[in-house]
Every structure is written in C-alpha cells, then in structure tokens.
Amino acid sequence: MSAKPGKILMDNLWFNNPVLIQVLGICSTLAVTNNVRNTLVMTVGVSLATAFSGWTLSLMKDLIPRKVRMIVQVLVISFYVILIDILLRAYLPEASRQLGPYVGLIITNCIIMGRAEAFAAANRPLISFWDGLTSGLGYMAVLVAIALVREILGFGSVLGFRLMPEGFVPWTIMITAPSAFFLVAMVMWLARNLQARREAAAKAAKAAPKPAAGPSPAKA
C-alpha cells in the first residue's frame, strides 16, 4: 500500500478535511454545536464509528458479494452506531438524553459511508482504521472549534466554567441555528485562504532557483 499513515493524517486533518474541503457529514452534528460537551460526545462517536466500520469492512472486503455491498456497509455502520447509543445510554445517560435523535443520525453521516467506499474498500484493515479515525479527528477539530465560539459567545461559559465577566451579555444568535452556518463559512474561508497562500508560496519556491527550505506541502 502506498498510503503512509503520516500523509493520511495530514490529508484528513487539513488538506482534504471532510468538512472544510469535501463539505461532508455536517448534518448530524451541527445542530448540537452550541454545546461543547455534546459536540465532543458526537464527534468522538463519529470518529469511532468511522474507524471501526472502516476496519471491519476492510477485513470483510474479500467476502462481500457485490450485489449486497451497500447494504452490508450500512449494516456494519448501523451496528457500531447502535453500539455507541447503547453504551451512551448505560454510561452517560445525561448526554444520551440531551442528544436524543442525533446519535442515531451518525448512521447517515456521509463521512462514514464515504470513507468506507473510498478507502476501506481498497485498503488493509489497520490503515483503514487509521484513515477513519483521522477523518473523524478532522471533523472533530472543525466542529469543536465552532462549538467553542458558540458556547463562549452564546452562554459565556465552556463546559460549565464561566469565562466571560459578570456584565457580559450573551449573544442569542450564537445559540440559534444561523450562527452555525456563518461560523462554518468563516472557518472554510480561513482554511481555503491559508491553503491557497501555501500553494502559491510553494509554486513560487519551485520557480525560484534555490530549493525550498521547509517541507513542501501536498499539491492536492
């Protein structure tokens, strides 16, 4: 296999981030990003489900008949998501109650299906696990960043700790849905601008006669 763990990590976290570049899978979690704890529970759930379903499907890939491939993928993904739901209900009843239907929606998260189809179907189990986990981490990084902004400005606190001074007036819009769309757009803008700048710099370095000093970024 040509894919290296380090390159997969960088791709999934930054150069090909599932949310920022591929615009996948935000449906199931965006609704709970006004609370950092709920966002963490959800994104950890997505990461684990992606990692384990990638691993399982990769293990099974030589056995799955083509006719039922999609349905087997959905079965495996559902299996892990239901497992997460059962574990949450037993060990984190409070979070499970607050998240309500959103845990089940992890099944339809496009990232999981996407990684199963694009990566696990053609790669070895362990590297598929790693790919799923890092995709989940890239997803987590963006959504937790958004949740931090929303909870700090919307409630003045993070994970129950009060950060803002006494006189701080909470921004109601940060609690409601529109702010999530605006924040996703801002993070996308920032990420794309940074990537475009690095690409331009890399091109300039290549055009210059002396070799580039730093490690050259991916040309994806």
């Binding site: 030589d62 349905i71 079965l75 909470p170 109601t172």
Partner: protein
C-alpha cells in the same frame, strides 16, 4: 476476481447476508442485554433523584439517594400520574409528576410543595424533547433552581419570556416570577402551563385526591 469461489453465486449471497445479519444482531442483542440492568438502574435512580431534588432533599450518590428515598418518601398508592408524600420536620410535603405539551413533544416534570402550597419546594425535569441548547436548557440547574422556594401567586408561577439573567438565574423568590430561556419563548410558555397544571395537581393530591 482474486478468489477462486464465485462471490456472486446466489446461494453464497443469501448465506453471506444471513450470517452477517445474524452475527451483528447477536452482537447488539448481547450488548443490549449486558447493559440493560445498568440502564434500568439509571432510570430508577433518575426517577428517585428527581423526586428528592424537587423536595429539596440533598444526596451525594445513587446509594444515598436510594436510602434517603426509602426512608423519607412514600408513593401515594393508586395515584395516576404518580404522586408522593414526604414527612418532613416542618410538616407534610407532596411531590407530583406532571406531563404537558412542550414545543416538540411531551415534557414531564416533578414538582413538590408543602401542604399549604404557599411556596414550591422545587421542580425537576424527568423527560423533555426540546431543542438541545435552546428549549432543552430548561433542564439546566440555573433554570430549575429558580423555583426553589418560589412563591405561588394566584395558583401559578409566571416565566418571563427571554429575560434570562446571563444564565445566572438571579431571582426574587417572592414575586412568583422566574426567568425564561432566551431564544426559546415557546418552551418557556409551555413550562408555565405545565407548572400551573402541577400546582393544581399538588392541590388535588394535598386535598386527598389521587
């Protein structure tokens, strides 16, 4: 195809699908069975804790909650929905379970008060389906703590719409008015109606009704 056998053979497809389904469903059934007692205990604890919370009886963990519940609280037999009596040093207190319509689904709360019904002891929320982070915030301590010792004025407690004091729940217990959740006017209104229902139910139970 690398493998020697025919993966698209219909018999293989059927057997494969069947075996895979059976394996995964068995796994889930096992996980569900293994955690069932834990989930049941969680639910039991949540119910008992809700009654203790509403009555204002402090506890530090599930074990203490269970023993406090057993010694201090007695369910009223035949009461539907559930109602409880607690003998306290200052007299008899009642707790009732009340369900009402929220914005998106039923909200079930426990409310408690002394026999005179002059002030609420407190409330606790058992189940709600309001929007997480919006209406769902009625389940946060700052909101619920406002009802602790709040005066019942004219058979109800009003909830002001969207005038939340930064989540701090700064509140005058004598005015029969608490802060609502900002951004969730509809849920706050629903809570006001459910509380009125709870207060009426408390009066009924205190008067010997079931």
């Amino acid at each position: 195809m690398k493998k020697k056998f025919d993966r698209e053979n219909i018999a293989y497809v059927v057997i494969f699908s069947f075996v895979t389904c059976a394996v995964f469903v068995a796994g889930l059934a096992a996980a569900n069975e293994a955690t069932a007692p834990k989930v049941r205990a969680n639910r039991e604890f949540a119910n008992q804790a809700a009654v203790l919370d509403a009555l204002g009886i402090g506890y530090s963990g599930p074990a203490e909650a269970a023993s406090l519940y057993a010694s201090a609280v007695r369910p009223i037999e035949g009461a539907s929905p559930r109602a409880y009596v607690a003998e306290r040093p200052d007299g008899r207190h009642y707790a009732v379970e009340v369900t009402g319509a929220g914005l998106w689904g039923a909200i079930t709360i426990v409310a408690a008060a002394g026999e005179s019904l002059e002030r609420l002891d407190g409330i606790q929320i058992i189940a709600q389906n309001e929007t997480p982070g919006l209406g769902g915030r009625i389940d946060e301590p700052w909101f619920k703590e406002q009802f602790r010792g709040e005066r019942v004025a004219g058979g109800r407690i009003r909830i002001s719409a969207g005038a939340e004091a930064g989540g701090s729940g700064a509140n005058d217990p004598d005015d029969g008015l608490v802060d609502g959740v900002s951004g969730a006017t509809r849920t706050s209104q629903a809570m006001e109606l459910i509380l009125a229902k709870a207060i009426a139910r408390l009066a009924e139970v205190a008067g010997g009704g079931k």
